[in-house]
C-alpha cells in the first residue's frame, strides 16, 4: 500500500465554522484489508500450528474466491442525514415494532426507500441526534478500565441535561429585568443552571462489519466517526478527517480477526472564489460604513498643538494627606511655570481643597480629599542655542489645619515636579514645617494657633528670588510632618512625536525627542551665520579700492597663465 502507515491518532479535533452546519458533507470510504503482508503474517501464525494448517489455508482460499475483490464502500453523508442499517430496515419494516413517533417516521421512510429501489448504502450507516443510540452512548460511556465503573452523580446530571436542548430559545432580557432572582427555583431550572449547558447535536457514522451474508445482526456495529456540533459553530470530529495521514483501521474480535480500514474526508462544497470575494467585499463595505457612521457622530478632526511646541496635559488628583498632627486639614497648591511655558488664560493654576476631618487608618490619621485638578500647559522652544535644559513645571503646596475656633496652623510644605514621562504616577510627598527652637512657640501653636510660616512657598524648593550658585538653608529649622499623596495622569502631545514615531525612533526622554527641533534649529543657525559672514565679506570686498582688486585679479591671471 502506498499510504502504508496506519493512522493511530484517533483523538478528537475541533473545527470552527460560521457557515450553516447543514452544508457539512463527509465522505467515508470503508474497505476490508487483504494485504499480502497480512496474509504472510497469518501464514506464519498458522505455521506454528501445523495441525490446523490445511484448514486454515482452505478457509483463506475459499474466502478470497468468495469475495472476489475486497469489498469497498464509499458514501457521502450530510449533516444529520439518516442512513438506515440492515438491522434497522429489518426492524422498522413491520409497523408492529414501531412505538414512538420517530419509529413510525422511520417506518414510512423505509417503505418509501423500498419503493424507490432499496437503500444506497450497504455497511455504512448513521445514527442521528434523535436516535436512541446517541442517548445510550452518553449514558454508558466508560472512561477507565474498571469493570465496576459507575457514572458519578455529576456525570448522570450532565447526561440528562447537556445534550437535548437544541431548540431552547435564549431567555429574553425583559424577563431578566422583571425578575433578577428566582426565589423558588424549579427542578428543571436547577438542572439547566447547575451544570454547563452548551447544547450539542451529535451524529455517529457507523459501520456494520458483520459477515456479508449476515448483515444486520446488531452486534457487529462499530463507530467510525463521532461528530458533535454546538450552536456556536464548534464542530468536534472524532477521529479527525484523514487528510495526508493514513487511514484508520478497525480490528475485529472473534476468530477471523478481520481488519478493516476506512478514511474520512471533508466533502463539503467549497465556496466559489467570486462568492467568497463578494462576501468579503460585503463585510468591508459594512465596516467602512460603520466607520463613516462613527466619524459622522464625532467628526474626524482632533485638536493639535502648534508645530514646535509640547503640550503637557495632567489629570491630577490630590488623594489624601496622612500623618499630620492636627485635624481638619486642607491643602492649598499652585503651579509654577518656568520660562518658555505657557497655559491657556482661562485655566486656574492654583486651588484649595475642602477641609477634611481625619480618620484613623492603621497608625496614621488620614484625610481623604479626592480633589480633581486638570493642568494644560504648553512648552515652546524659541531659541535653541541657549545651552540650558528647559525647566519643568513644579507644583507647590502647603497643608494647613483649621481648628474649632477657626484658627489655622501650618502643617507642612512640599512640592511635586510634574512627571516628565507620560502615564500614571502616584506620588507620595513628605512635608516639613518651619520650627522655632524652644518651647514657647510650640505652646503658642498649641494654645492660640499660628506658627512661623514661609513668606514665599517656592522656598520649599529653590526660592524664586534666589540668585547665586550655592543654595544654603543653614540656620533654618524644620520639623518633619506628614505626607500628601498625589495621583497624576500625564499626557504629552507634540507634532515632533508624530515624526519621531513614524521614524520608529524610541528615545529615552521627552527632551531627546523634542531634540529634533533643536538639531534642525542649530543647522539653520549655522547656515544663517555662514550667510551672514559671506555677506559681510562681500561688503568688505566692495568697499575695497577698485585698483587693489584689479591688481589682485591681474596677479591671479598672471599666476594662471
Amino acid at each position: 500500500m502506498a499510504e502504508a502507515a496506519w493512522n493511530e491518532d484517533t483523538g478528537g479535533v475541533v473545527y470552527r465554522s460560521r457557515d450553516p452546519i447543514g452544508n457539512l458533507r463527509i465522505r467515508v470510504r470503508l474497505q476490508r484489508v487483504t494485504s499480502t503482508s497480512l496474509l504472510l503474517q497469518q501464514l506464519q501464525q498458522l505455521s506454528f500450528q501445523p495441525g490446523q494448517q490445511a484448514i486454515g489455508l482452505a478457509t483463506l482460499g475459499s474466502h478470497n474466491t468468495a469475495s472476489g475483490n475486497p469489498p469497498e464502500e464509499e458514501v457521502v453523508i450530510g449533516w444529520q442525514e439518516k442512513l438506515f442499517s440492515q438491522f434497522e430496515v429489518d426492524l422498522y419494516q413491520h409497523e408492529s415494532a414501531c412505538q414512538s413517533p420517530l419509529d413510525r417516521q422511520y417506518h414510512q421512510d423505509i417503505l418509501k426507500l423500498e419503493k424507490s429501489g432499496g437503500r444506497k448504502n450497504n455497511r455504512i450507516f448513521t445514527y442521528t441526534d434523535h436516535d436512541r443510540f446517541t442517548n445510550m452512548e452518553e449514558h454508558c460511556q466508560r472512561v477507565t478500565t474498571s469493570v465496576q465503573e459507575a457514572p458519578s452523580y455529576l456525570a448522570e446530571r450532565m447526561a440528562n441535561v447537556r445534550r437535548r436542548r437544541q431548540e431552547r430559545k435564549p431567555v429574553e432580557s425583559s424577563v431578566f429585568k422583571s425578575r433578577i432572582v428566582t426565589w423558588k427555583p424549579s427542578e428543571e431550572f436547577i438542572k439547566n443552571n447547575h451544570v454547563i449547558n452548551t447544547p450539542v447535536q451529535t451524529m455517529y457514522i457507523m459501520a456494520d462489519l458483520g459477515p456479508e451474508d449476515k448483515l444486520g445482526c446488531g452486534d457487529c456495529e462499530h463507530v467510525l466517526c463521532t461528530i458533535r456540533v454546538d450552536s456556536n459553530g464548534v464542530i468536534t470530529v472524532k477521529p479527525d478527517f484523514t487528510g495526508t495521514k493514513g487511514p484508520y483501521r478497525i480490528e475485529l474480535e472473534g476468530e477471523k480477526r478481520e481488519l478493516w480500514k476506512y478514511t474520512l474526508e471533508n466533502a463539503s462544497a467549497v465556496v466559489q472564489q467570486d462568492e467568497e470575494e463578494r462576501e468579503q467585499r460585503l463585510f468591508k463595505d459594512l465596516y467602512s460604513r460603520h466607520k463613516e457612521y462613527l466619524h459622522g457622530l464625532v467628526g474626524t478632526d482632533f485638536e493639535m498643538t502648534l508645530p514646535g511646541s509640547l503640550r503637557l496635559f495632567v489629570n491630577g488628583e490630590i488623594v489624601s494627606a496622612q500623618g499630620y498632627e492636627y485635624d481638619n486639614l486642607y491643602i492649598h497648591f499652585f503651579l509654577e511655570l518656568p520660562s518658555h511655558w505657557s497655559c491657556p488664560p482661562s485655566q486656574p493654576l492654583s486651588g484649595v481643597t475642602q477641609t477634611c476631618a481625619t480618620k484613623i487608618l492603621g497608625k496614621d490619621r488620614v484625610a481623604f480629599f479626592s480633589f480633581p485638578f486638570t493642568l494644560e500647559v504648553f512648552f515652546t522652544q524659541e531659541d535653541e542655542l541657549e545651552g540650558s535644559l528647559p525647566q519643568w513645571p513644579v507644583l507647590y503646596f502647603e497643608v494647613l489645619s483649621l481648628d474649632f475656633w477657626q484658627r489655622y496652623r501650618v502643617e507642612g510644605y512640599g512640592f511635586v515636579m510634574l512627571p516628565a514621562t507620560p502615564g500614571a504616577h502616584t506620588l507620595t510627598v513628605s512635608t516639613w514645617r518651619p520650627m522655632e527652637p524652644g518651647t514657647f512657640s510650640e505652646l503658642q501653636r498649641f494654645f492660640i494657633g499660628g506658627s512661623p510660616e514661609l513668606e514665599d512657598l517656592t522656598y520649599a524648593r529653590v526660592p524664586s528670588t534666589f540668585k547665586g550658585d550655592r543654595l544654603s538653608r543653614f540656620g533654618f529649622r524644620t520639623e518633619t510632618t506628614g505626607s500628601v499623596t498625589f495621583r497624576l495622569n500625564c499626557l504629552q502631545q507634540s507634532k515632533a512625536f508624530l515624526e519621531s514615531s513614524s521614524m520608529k525612533k524610541r528615545m529615552q526622554s521627552v527632551l531627546d525627542r523634542l531634540g529634533g527641533f533643536s538639531q534642525q534649529g542649530s543647522v539653520y543657525n549655522v547656515l544663517e551665520a555662514f550667510q551672514r559672514a559671506r555677506r559681510r565679506m562681500q561688503e568688505a570686498r566692495e568697499s575695497l579700492p577698485q585698483d587693489l582688486i584689479s591688481t589682485s585679479t591681474a596677479g591671479r591671471d598672471s599666476h594662471l597663465s
Binding site: 503640550r311 475642602q354 500614571a424
Partner: protein, 175 residues
C-alpha cells in the same frame, strides 16, 4: 477622532463604618467626548459582607468613548450609600478618580469623603443616621467650589479598570 475603551469593574469598598453598602457611579466627560456604546452610569446591589468588612459588588463597567481632544478626560465618580435594616438609605461617601490615561490594567483605590454638618447634626447623626448631602453632585468631580465644604474622611472604593486607546498616536499624543 481618537477612541477610548474603559473596561473593568467596581470591585468593592472597605473602611466604611458599617456594612450593607451600595454604590452609584457615573462617568463625566467634557464636551469633545461622545459616548459610542456602553452605560455611563449605574448602581450596584446592596452587599452584606459575610466575614470581613469589605463589601464586594463586582459591578461591570464597559464604555467606549470617541473624542476630538484631550480636554475633559473621563472622570469616574462614585457615591457610596448605606442601607440600614429599616430600608433607609444614607449617604456614606463621595469619591472620584480620573480614568487612567495610559493603556493597560489599573487597579485603583478611590478614597471618599462625606459632608460634615454642624455639631448638632453630627450629634443627631450618631443616633438616627442621615446627614447632609451635596446639592449639586457635580462638586464630586470639580474642584472649583470645594473650599466651601467641611468633610470627613470615609472609606475606600476599589476599582479595576483596563484602558484601551486608539488613534492617539496618530495625533502625536504620548500616554
Amino acid at each position: 477622532m481618537a477612541e477610548v475603551h474603559v473596561i473593568g469593574q467596581i470591585v468593592g469598598a472597605s473602611g466604611f463604618p458599617s456594612n450593607s453598602l451600595f454604590c452609584k457611579w457615573g462617568i463625566h466627560t467634557g464636551g469633545a467626548w461622545k459616548l459610542l456604546s456602553g452605560l455611563r452610569e449605574g448602581q450596584t446591589q446592596v452587599d452584606h459582607p459575610q466575614f470581613d468588612n469589605v463589601a464586594y459588588w463586582s459591578h461591570p463597567i464597559d464604555v467606549h468613548f470617541a473624542t476630538k481632544g484631550l480636554q475633559g478626560w473621563p472622570k469616574l465618580h462614585v457615591q457610596v450609600w448605606h442601607q440600614d435594616s429599616f430600608g433607609r438609605s444614607e449617604l456614606y461617601g463621595y469619591g472620584f478618580c480620573h480614568v487612567p490615561s495610559s493603556p493597560g490594567f489599573h487597579p485603583l483605590d478611590c478614597v471618599t469623603w462625606r459632608p460634615l454638618g454642624s455639631w448638632q447634626e453630627q450629634f443627631s447623626q450618631l443616633f438616627v443616621g442621615g446627614g447632609p448631602q451635596l446639592l449639586n453632585s457635580d462638586l464630586i468631580y470639580t474642584g472649583a467650589d470645594r473650599y466651601r465644604l467641611q468633610t470627613r474622611a470615609m472609606g475606600t472604593v476599589h476599582l479595576q479598570l483596563a484602558v484601551l486607546l486608539r488613534n492617539f498616536d496618530r495625533y502625536g499624543v504620548e500616554s
